[in-house]
Symmetry: C2
Subunit: 225 residues, 2 copies
Amino acid sequence: MADRPPRRIPEATVARLPLYYRALLEMAEQRIPTVSSERLAEMAGVNAAKVRKDFSYLGSYGTRGVGYDVEYLLFQISRELGLTQDWPVVIVGIGNLGAALANYRGFSARGFRIVALVDADPAKCGMEVGGLAVEPLIDLPRIVAERHVAIGIIATPASAAQEVAELLVSAGVTSVLNFAPTVIAVPPGVSLRKVDLSIELQILSFYQQRRDEAEGGRVALGGMS
Amino acid sequence: MADRPPRRIPEATVARLPLYYRALLEMAEQRIPTVSSERLAEMAGVNAAKVRKDFSYLGSYGTRGVGYDVEYLLFQISRELGLTQDWPVVIVGIGNLGAALANYRGFSARGFRIVALVDADPAKCGMEVGGLAVEPLIDLPRIVAERHVAIGIIATPASAAQEVAELLVSAGVTSVLNFAPTVIAVPPGVSLRKVDLSIELQILSFYQQRRDEAEGGRVALGGMS
């Protein structure tokens, strides 16, 4: 019973923590001091029992009749997610999407600091985007080593994504976020997540379809439900 | 017992359907005919009991020892999510992000058809992006009516997002997807979803932090875990 091993948090709970975090941030901005598991559940789209179970992994149990302290829960989740650390990020592929990500305010606010923009196209190198000059892909190993890059974002066309993933991994990056609309593979020990920009659209179409059915078909689409 | 009301699918199940759909599409591309709830659970990041429960809402129960039929499950989910329909989409705000979304292959593959690109900046109007000419914001009501727009995507700066949401709603759009990094409000009866591009980064940082701790700190970051 010497060194306590880190608590094991289920993968599904980890995936929900950013949703709670976002909901709690909104409340903090509105200076709401406490929140019930029911309200948080509603905002994050899960049930209240699940919220309480998820927070129990963080050692947070709330107070009966009062709920959870918003600021303290924000601190606990940001610590658990590693948002209290500084994470140097490189973006590879500076087309429209890469440029949009380089300018995205939401990253730096969470501790994700873009330290380099890289592109294979020599014509783009030197171009300034979001305050950084685009650098050549060939310099990636040096950039990763010198700037202690922790996370690599792939924003290339689908055809280049696998090759870029391999370059990132061989340069020592162990966390990869893929925005390219294709499936890529990484070796064991490297974390890979994929962003599918169409997921939220699919959820919208579910509800829109339900509404249309309730209104008697797409004819009624122009009206308000 | 006359007209059966539509089955009530819990919101959390709806939010997981696109994740299953994406995993099943990958399997279909690899010509895998059947899948176990355990394998799907792993790919979607939930537990297997949850997968079976979610699919029971679709009336899909799988076969013991065989699992679920990939193609049939794809059909069921796409029907449930409304992906078998055509959804005309307008994108408002054609900066880097709007342009990236206009060119994003993943939308049309799911039935989301971009029918218009709109921007408030007269200098952008007429510019061609992803095969469409950018149109002025003032034409939004006519565009929505004539092209039966079902879903509006907001890709403007945060400061313009609320005003654009109101324009979309007053033009008759009842589904809004917000990419702007700010909280906006819509009237009851309008569906609103928000894309936070930093969510997957937060999940990566959770695992990266765990790995770093296991390796004795950030010093080991350059090495492979």
